[in-house]
Homo-oligomer: 418 residues x 4
Amino acid sequence: MLARQGIISETDADAIVRGMEEVRREIEEGSFPWREELEDVHMNIERRLQEKIGAAAGRLHTGRSRNDQVATDVRLYLKEAINETLQLVRKLQRALVEMASANKGLIMPGYTHLQRGQPVLFAHHLLAYFEMLRRDAERLADCYRRTDVLPLGSGALAGSPYPLDREWVAKELGFSSISRNSMDAVSDRDFLVEFHACAALCMMHLSRMAEELVLWSSSEFGFVRLADEYTTGSSLMPQKRNPDFAELARGKTGRVYGHLMGILTVMKGLPLTYNRDLQEDKEALFDTLDTLQTTLKVFAGMVSTMQVVPERMTRAAEDSAMLATDVADYLVARGMPFREAHGVVRALASYAVERGRELRELSLEEYRRFSPLFQVDVLHLTAEASVRARDIPGGTSPRQVESALQEARRLLEETGGE
Amino acid sequence: MLARQGIISETDADAIVRGMEEVRREIEEGSFPWREELEDVHMNIERRLQEKIGAAAGRLHTGRSRNDQVATDVRLYLKEAINETLQLVRKLQRALVEMASANKGLIMPGYTHLQRGQPVLFAHHLLAYFEMLRRDAERLADCYRRTDVLPLGSGALAGSPYPLDREWVAKELGFSSISRNSMDAVSDRDFLVEFHACAALCMMHLSRMAEELVLWSSSEFGFVRLADEYTTGSSLMPQKRNPDFAELARGKTGRVYGHLMGILTVMKGLPLTYNRDLQEDKEALFDTLDTLQTTLKVFAGMVSTMQVVPERMTRAAEDSAMLATDVADYLVARGMPFREAHGVVRALASYAVERGRELRELSLEEYRRFSPLFQVDVLHLTAEASVRARDIPGGTSPRQVESALQEARRLLEETGGE
Amino acid sequence: MLARQGIISETDADAIVRGMEEVRREIEEGSFPWREELEDVHMNIERRLQEKIGAAAGRLHTGRSRNDQVATDVRLYLKEAINETLQLVRKLQRALVEMASANKGLIMPGYTHLQRGQPVLFAHHLLAYFEMLRRDAERLADCYRRTDVLPLGSGALAGSPYPLDREWVAKELGFSSISRNSMDAVSDRDFLVEFHACAALCMMHLSRMAEELVLWSSSEFGFVRLADEYTTGSSLMPQKRNPDFAELARGKTGRVYGHLMGILTVMKGLPLTYNRDLQEDKEALFDTLDTLQTTLKVFAGMVSTMQVVPERMTRAAEDSAMLATDVADYLVARGMPFREAHGVVRALASYAVERGRELRELSLEEYRRFSPLFQVDVLHLTAEASVRARDIPGGTSPRQVESALQEARRLLEETGGE
Amino acid sequence: MLARQGIISETDADAIVRGMEEVRREIEEGSFPWREELEDVHMNIERRLQEKIGAAAGRLHTGRSRNDQVATDVRLYLKEAINETLQLVRKLQRALVEMASANKGLIMPGYTHLQRGQPVLFAHHLLAYFEMLRRDAERLADCYRRTDVLPLGSGALAGSPYPLDREWVAKELGFSSISRNSMDAVSDRDFLVEFHACAALCMMHLSRMAEELVLWSSSEFGFVRLADEYTTGSSLMPQKRNPDFAELARGKTGRVYGHLMGILTVMKGLPLTYNRDLQEDKEALFDTLDTLQTTLKVFAGMVSTMQVVPERMTRAAEDSAMLATDVADYLVARGMPFREAHGVVRALASYAVERGRELRELSLEEYRRFSPLFQVDVLHLTAEASVRARDIPGGTSPRQVESALQEARRLLEETGGE
């Protein structure tokens, strides 16, 4: 570009390009003679280039400053990292879809307040996480868009006096656009804060899944058995399967929340433009990336390999207290206003509780004491029927879940999830 | 919709609509008879409706649950609040554009490390904040998109057994789409976390501007005088103008950071679906909104009314140490490799510092001791020339800043910024 | 004091004191004529005093500034609030002690990784929270000590030119000492940050207890039934007891964490001395206090009134997999090195798991296949025996727990816990 | 201890002690044969011990579990680290005391709102930081006290069935007391949270000092010149001294705040007892320690070596607007009530501001237009006189500052600050 714009000669440009290719080869081969006494990587490279091509090397740094170069490097790095992360989000989404597909008919209790609420398909429950991850992917894509801006050409802070072709450089380096204000460009770290916020949200979702896996692995729930690779046993208690990976993932949420808080604190109240405080941006980024990517990978593996214990789920789902809403809906379907039906079922349920019986243990005659609208079919209300009835978009009926699974698969194919 | 779908009769639907309009009128007029003994606003309204239209009121709640209704209400509320916030972002952007336009030629020092670095246009400096706010607006718009999803029809957690037309309801209520998974829909608060993250970023930008206004208002800088409405004086020291509003805004950044951490903490490790912990989402939202909107308003006023002190800025900008880069560029323009020019200027600057003189106080003869490339025009290097030379996109030259101002005005017109 | 030091006359001092007592009475009686047009509470009082005693009122403010006065007021307020909080901590400790005393012999599973680990006394489990709260009380007392310092006499920032007797004022106002540096005194908010940190730690403990109460209230665990006042039922499902108060408390942890981060952010990077940012210290303090005190009260009530379900705990505690450690200890007690015993039990447990049997279902002959050290008494290993064996300080044996209970009661009596 | 209590034989105990000393030597000499295939450091050591002393090595782990051992190790580590940190706090305090002593008479402006408020001694300003650090040291000492508790003997969670002498072990390992509840002991990380909170507060103080050093190093203030080791210059601008170390320290505040948030998040809502989430406690601890200790060291160096520029401070301190309070105090001393004096000075100051003159430029006759109490000595009001007048404990008068310096030196001697 410097030669195209007449800033340096073609000869010098050729020499620089040729020399830099040799330098790259040396670095890749590990034969590059790093010298600690030179200030940093930039000076090491420039010195080595000088040894290869002589004085022309002195023109390498023309039109650049460390401030705009560092900002460019971090953006290049994060762009690639976001793409890798998106792949891993999709990998976990695929694992959820596969586990859901393999257990299509399986019913479990749906919980509110950790109390059994209504029966749902296990597949429906898994797909709730698919949706959370879908939003995570959208947010990461939005963050990518704002990272995809070239700051090079902003100089130290005021712009460059050389007739640089910034648009051309952006194209060469794969950036979609160029920054619009040099002072903003060298001190902007929004894209990093935004990435940490995306990561914190995604880790929050994973912490919820982790919590559920821990619960489901307990003796009390017993809904799943995590694979050996994802548990550690007490050697004394071989039947014990500590869900260590899920717990670690839950714990690592704190780390990512902390990094988000850290970078926000760093930026608070900094006057323009570059301040050395900004150097604090890197370690946290590397650690958040590493944490998020590793956790996504672990979850993909953990979900793929977990063994469902259908009999425990089914038994819990048969708790007929969860059918109270269905009994009310039964009456509404037969013409009773909702609020009145609500009252009838409340009385009915209290009647059962007082007698230490479950709803499904009541006789038709007992039902009819509370409303003459009850017919024999009320006795056929089951978890299956309850699930089947919730057949509108977003509901847990097998038909809706099947269609959600298909849409999920389509999405994964489109976005090239492996 | 309930009638259109045959869930309730047309007669009941008409009665409900008619009754609800009366209820609305009563609430608006302040004549609604609120009763504390009824559980909440929902029950108050339903009871009042019953007094007006009788039994049909009992059908009002058909196909809804508090879980999906609350989620819907918060989303409706936030959508409107985001739009209001966007208006305020634009109002501040306009204030920056106007202040920049009114001071087009004014030069000030650009700082790195709070050390004078290179001269820049004051307008260029202000437009750096314009860019930050532009990204804030983009992020808020992305957040709006993810808030704009209707959860109604998700029931308590499993979906609804009634043949609700969710798409139609979405259209009626102004939502662009419907949620895809009922369990996710009733426990998703991502949009709130994302909004807090957007707000935290925006407050961070405002804290930087606040810091600069505090600095610029000090006796030592003296670049601006804030208007009386935005300062409090010590009554004993009438010349003292404490930048209280800027300080308060800077302080309020902590409050918004805190709310972001708060909501992330609330969500960490919550199992599906609804848990009462989620009730903690509201107060923080209201407070963040209130803080952000008020602060944006205050800044718009503070920027519009501040009085620039051109002579203090200009005097500071004349510090010729800031021209060192320009002297190096001068040599590069005359064919010297950048690294060599760098060495010459270093020697030259040390020479000046040792003699307690500024660069602009050196004679041509002294310049030429360091390189024969120096001609008489090196003595014409000034802050103005330095600024003028940075004439590539994003740079601080008057031409670039003028074009940035035009683009900024175009953007504000398009987005209807008042 | 102003008169004692000869700063104002005795006559004026008497008039001021007399007038201020009238003012106090008016405020207490609600008859004080507040005027909005006067700047703040200070000016209102001074003006009213003037109406009562004339010109001497103008001497009221002698030797004070708003900066040192506000700092004094907040410290007075927090000192009282800490003492109230300590009372509430003790109230919850007492509730734990009473619940533990009422269920002395009750055994439950102790968990690690939410997996059953070893049987413990329910009382021992409750006393773990007693210890956490004991540390909270210690930390609050340390914070009190650092709050208990009088800043009055620091003036706006540089100290006072009047010969104030600061030690005497400290004694009068109940402060243990006076601040040592005026610039520090008017800008120090350490005591607030420290209080928020104490509160965050205490809320963290309560969030752990909340999590356990939620788990224990689930159908799957079923260890406790929370009282009606601390649950909300679904009206349709009367047997459902949503642990709303525990969930809310868990959620409110986020709020207090957020306030801690908020005040830390406010203070970051503030130059000396007073800056208006500091005004942000109050609302968060009030909210943290209110949240912490209310949550402590709720927990005291919730713990006192919860109904334990001994049969569910006992059944869970009989899970003989938890006795593996005891079997190993059995062998060690008979001379086998720990590591070897460990190997024997591992083999034994695998043998049982492979056959789908529990440890307690194995015959002596089967035990002896793995080691000849096993005698018939190995069959008497039970949860009770396991608990009884852990009889060293801090252990779960009934003897140790009894002595811990006695010590806890002693502590509460000493500290005057109601 | 195991032998003293008869848990293992004297012979075995001797063998173990002897073997472990060899192991220690091997590790120190670097000749220990680490094997990756063994699970962790514990198993490596036990295996090696076995190679040296045979079967007795199997008794090494008797009466311990990883849970109580890890908790013990972290506490041992932190106790030492706190003591090191205290040494560094004192080192910085000493640097402040020395810098203050070397500039005893130097006057500078004291600021509120970054506006010049009242003249103060530079030494007084430095001692404000001494006080902040004193509180940091107290808090660290309190945290040490709560860390100084031995958890060993708590077993995995329920205590140990062996007759361990926990008090004796505590004494041997240098702990002041033993933990009182085994379930609490293995899951308590309060001491870590508390340490992070102490560190966050201390970093907050350092961030304030950093901000001031950055301000004071600017061309606009020009109060100090940081030593070459603590600045980086632009090579092109040798007179530029970027306060990089101060900026980095200010930035690192975010890192420590983040770790505090991280550990609080980890602990939120964890059920008892040990959960693998707790493993997240270590890296953050190491990083916070490293950050805090390094920053304290850097500040000690930076403060010791900074060069004060007395003429810039003095010139700024001569700004006579800062004497307004003194003029009011002058009138009060001559019998005028404070509020009235306040009014007189306000009028006087407005008069001066309107005429573009400073207070000290007014004639006695002009003063007397506002009050006949003014005598010729009012013209002698100077920054020196103002400072001298604030002569009560905590004030900025030379006498008070001298006594504060002496007390500071005494404290450092007592606490053995190097």
